[in-house]
């Protein structure tokens, strides 16, 4: 488990820890870098959206190697988030509308085999799952 302050300066540390955990779980390049990015994005969501940029909160990351898959839970106690309400990214439309956000969830979903969000006991829990059989 890793607990970091809700400050984007810690994203680099989140990335490094995730990459090491993924390598330890047996993933080969480029998967550890991709997993690190997905967890970076989930943590960024927690800091910038759930906590609205407040820097005095915490984000908890729980890593679990289940043998068949690698799981990371990114947990915050901020405002309820439902990233599933983010519109699907349509790149040409995205360019013409000069949008800048919403790519994080799109990235997570493209990298991971499973991305789920749940609200439990006043916490947002983003579960990221990557299978080891190379499903994606």
């Amino acid at each position: 488990m890793l607990t970091v302050p809700s400050q984007t300066t810690f994203l680099a540390a989140v990335r490094e820890v995730t990459k090491k955990m993924a390598e330890g779980a047996g993933f080969k390049s480029p998967t550890p870098d991709q997993l690190a990015l997905a967890v970076d994005e989930a943590t960024t969501n927690a800091i910038e959206h759930a906590y609205g940029g407040a820097s005095d909160k915490q984000v908890v990351l729980q890593f679990e190697d289940r043998g068949t898959d690698f799981r990371v839970e990114v947990i915050d106690t901020g405002a309820m988030m439902d990233p599933r309400s983010v519109p699907r990214v349509d790149l040409p439309r995205y360019v013409s509308e000069r949008r800048k956000g919403g790519l994080g969830v799109h990235l997570m979903e493209n990298i991971m085999d499973q991305v789920t969000f749940r609200r439990t006991a006043r916490r947002n829990v983003c579960l990221l799952v990557k299978r080891k059989d190379g499903a994606k």
Partner: protein
């Protein structure tokens, strides 16, 4: 950890941007500011040399997405060069390689702005 420095160089009508480090939600403003500076100076031919970039998160991709339409409407383009495997992989995951012209080297990207009829392609 600083994370990112960005240097800029002008070569004729092309602005070369050199991000060194990584671009994520913490460092993106430094990168964004350099692109905005070029736009404010009416310099719409931009090459981002990514050879010093270790990785880019969605914040950085969003920074590029946020300006590309204006740059192209002004007859210019933002082109990328020297991507390492990690950065290239992220571009491919999102399909960005279909939206942006990506070159192996800075020289290739610079030359592309000189191609007849392709200055703003």
């Amino acid at each position: 950890m600083n994370g990112l420095t960005v240097e800029t160089r002008q070569l004729d009508d092309v602005t070369l941007i050199y991000p060194q480090g990584f671009i994520n939600a913490h460092t993106v403003r430094v990168f964004e500011a350099e692109i905005q500076k070029a736009i404010e100076q009416n310099r719409f031919k931009v090459v981002v040399n990514c050879s010093g970039l270790s990785y880019i998160a969605s914040a950085g991709l969003g920074a590029i997405m946020g300006v590309i339409d204006e740059i192209r409407r002004q007859g210019g383009d933002l082109r990328l060069a020297g991507l390492n495997d990690t950065v290239r992989n992220i571009f491919e995951i999102l399909g960005f390689h279909h939206l942006y012209r990506i070159f192996p080297t800075e020289l290739d990207a610079l030359r592309s702005f000189g191609e007849p009829g392709k200055a703003g392609a």
